[in-house]
Subunit: 449 residues, 2 copies
């Protein structure tokens, strides 16, 4: 324990499971410095999900480029009798010279497809496992969930309101970026906006209305300071609230330029309908109606299907924690050591051997199926994994976030109709394992038994 606070910077190398370090020392002790390939994939899509959007690569590349054990962590490890002093000295000097191949952020991926592969001396590949998974997992989970919510909203903007219920500060900031990749229109999260250039928006909270004894005074004061704002109308009663907005419009006359009202509770469909009617009757058809409060993709889809006069959605908890699929069965597995293909035969957890490539086939502009193949095979379709790091350095600058977001949208659009639906696809997206890869797996099984 130290003088660090909960908000001190993290040394990415310290974000490691102890067994990575004990295994690293064992490899080192045994002189095992051979080249290994580790492959990051999930076995199956989460229940009810038809695709996953890959995200988080940028954070992984940041961490790998700057990877080094700091003095603080080394001193801590030295206090464990597990570690030899000469190993810790070796660890202190360790810098990564890994090669990384990965699918670009915003790519749709499926079970058994590598999102990322690390080729490096086995110790290096082992030491970065927890870190890579910790970042890619949550960001892919949140990007994927956001894509569903955005799809349900059918073109109406979805704003990320999730900061307060997301799992800690890192999830909040990286997750806001991931949800933006998944199609969120903006975030309420200032730090995420500052760090990643995501559009930041916000309205007002009930507390502001409560602090003023009088709702009308509160709405007026806010609209005077922020003429094009959104006014929250349901602190007391949404219908009284909308009437107060209408009264304010009458009072302000041509000055009135409030952009929207927000309803955060109650029967959103019915309230939106009545508010729309009252606003229209008052000649305020330009005032939009935003809703929030416990929304998920299913509630949003129902509101949209029922033609509720809603112009946008603020979504918090469900989008920010992964909603109905907060985890992904992501695994990072050794698939080759010193050129020897490696597999695993633990029941229910097959791992195909060797470095891989994924080929995506198209038919009339739509994705028609993928083939997972050995990385040096040639198959129909476009390869998904590119080299993004060589000898521990990025091979190219990070992509612009806007480009990643556009890719995600294009990829989701290119999925078969059935796979884009919120419901489990009748015919799941087709992922083939190439005959050569199947054969390599059989061969490796033969050697093992």
């Amino acid at each position: 324990m130290s003088g660090e606070t909960a908000f001190s910077a993290y040394n990415p190398a310290a974000l490691v499971d102890l067994y990575q370090l004990t295994m690293a020392q064992a490899y080192w002790h045994e002189g095992m410095h051979g080249e290994a390939v580790f492959s990051l994939h999930f076995r199956d899509l989460p229940r009810g999900r038809n695709f996953v959007l890959a995200a988080g690569l940028h954070a992984v590349l940041d961490a790998l480029e700057s990877f080094r054990f700091d003095r603080h962590t080394l001193d801590y490890l030295a206090g464990h009798e597990l570690f030899r002093e000469d190993f810790l000295r070796w660890l202190e000097d360790l810098r990564l010279d890994a090669t990384v191949r990965a699918v670009p952020e915003g790519t749709v991926v499926f079970g058994q497809e590598p999102l990322l592969e690390v080729t490096a001396p086995v110790i290096q590949g082992q030491l970065v496992e927890s870190l890579i998974m910790n970042q890619i997992h949550v960001q892919s989970v949140l990007a994927s969930g956001a894509a569903r919510i955005v799809a349900a909203a059918g073109g109406r903007p979805v704003v990320d309101f999730a900061l307060r219920r997301m799992h800690g500060s890192d999830a909040a900031v990286q997750g806001a970026r991931a949800m933006y990749i998944g199609g969120a229109h903006a975030t309420s999260n200032v730090l995420a906006g500052r760090r990643y250039g995501i559009p930041v928006t916000g309205t007002m909270a009930h507390s502001y209305v409560q602090a003023h004894a009088d709702e009308r005074a509160a709405l007026r004061a806010f609209a005077e300071l922020y003429p094009e704002t959104t006014l929250l109308i349901d602190t007391w009663d949404a219908l009284d609230g909308v009437d107060r907005v209408i009264a304010l419009a009458r009072e302000q006359g041509e000055q009135f330029s409030v952009a929207s009202i927000r309803i955060d509770s109650g029967d959103l469909e019915a309230l939106a309908g009545t508010c729309r009617q009252r606003l229209d009757e008052a000649g305020l058809s330009q005032v939009r109606i935003l809703v929030s409060g416990g929304l998920d993709e299913y509630r949003i889809a129902r509101l949209v299907q029922n033609d509720a006069p809603i112009d946008g959605f603020g979504v918090g908890t469900h989008m920010g924690t992964g909603g109905h699929a907060p985890t992904l069965d992501l695994a990072y597995k050794l698939v080759a050591y010193e050129g020897r293909p490696c597999i695993k035969t633990s029941p229910g957890k097959p791992v195909y051997p060797g470095a891989k490539q994924v080929f995506r086939q198209q038919d009339a502009g739509r994705f028609s199926g993928d083939t997972v193949a050995a990385h040096d095979e040639r198959q129909d379709g476009a390869p998904l994994l590119n080299e993004v790091m060589r000898d521990g350095r990025r091979t190219a600058p990070d992509e612009a976030l806007a480009d990643i977001r556009a890719r995600a949208a294009a990829q989701v659009r290119a999925l078969p109709e059935d796979v884009r639906k919120l419901e489990a696809a009748t015919e799941p997206y087709r992922v083939n394992i190439s005959p050569a890869l199947r054969q390599a797996h059989e061969d490796a099984l033969g050697t093992r038994r």
Copy 2:
């Protein structure tokens, strides 16, 4: 966007929703610097849950004590046309002089009970909302889930293996601490161990076995380097694996001191039974059996009920992401401004007015019910909220983590039997609202309407 990496330190003040800042500027513009009380509570327990363990206060106090807007964030805000230069200058000089009352970490709490209350000028109380919730929410969620998993394990140690699938680095580190509070025995997370002095343990992964062409050679090499280690036996076949451990014991003779084996896949109950039998027959009854792999409280409870010969559990995904209840309906509400009680009447979201205290009654050493009262009322039982910060400074050093963990265990033990069960309690824990508080709510409603 800037030269920051994904792992740059966070300025806690920047972890804020934009609307907190627009409301702050509005209060400032209107000269509203009156004292406000904000109350942090959840409305209802998550479905199927009988209690929540409060955690995360230490991080909140860290953030509030060091709260200030950094230059980077102020420059970013200056780039938004929303904010006036003189307000941003005021913001730059802002330091908190808040008073905070809170229940100690490791306290069991229920719906409508404040976990924490902030008394401060309204702007200050408003600006820290998202930050406080972002930290208390996830830490309470994870401590609560861990307490259930630990209870299911019936005294057998539970080790946190969750780092890789937790939601980002902050959740991983603060969450490891929260799960330790909830009763986890140790963590695999080195950074959490270093930062908070949590016991850190670890075994070996399949990759280590795979990297060696020969499982026997891998097990032998690891046991030679770490004589009292845990050997993972199911890379190929758990029963072949245990036979290899037995062969190693014969080979090493009196040198053999392997502490345990770990099974990570397959039918854990059946495999543990056969492994136990083979180990015992080989005279290795001292070798313990640990299991892991997709465990949650229900699977663990079943293994324990069935008397599976299992000595400990490694739990990852479910414990580290909140398992079956990854979120809590936590809210931070204005309950008083300038001495005037504040309520809210949004449908389904009642908020009782004013600063509060919770009194916990006991009967024969067991908690028998709580009363939520106005903070200056006297009720039967022991008050739960204490002043932990005055004028922006902690009133006492942080409690030792061991003490918090012991409190959590004692509190869970003191719950009624029915409330400690994994299943939803037949008779949920009794939380009364004091007559005076109900009356204050009625009075406030009367004023509003």
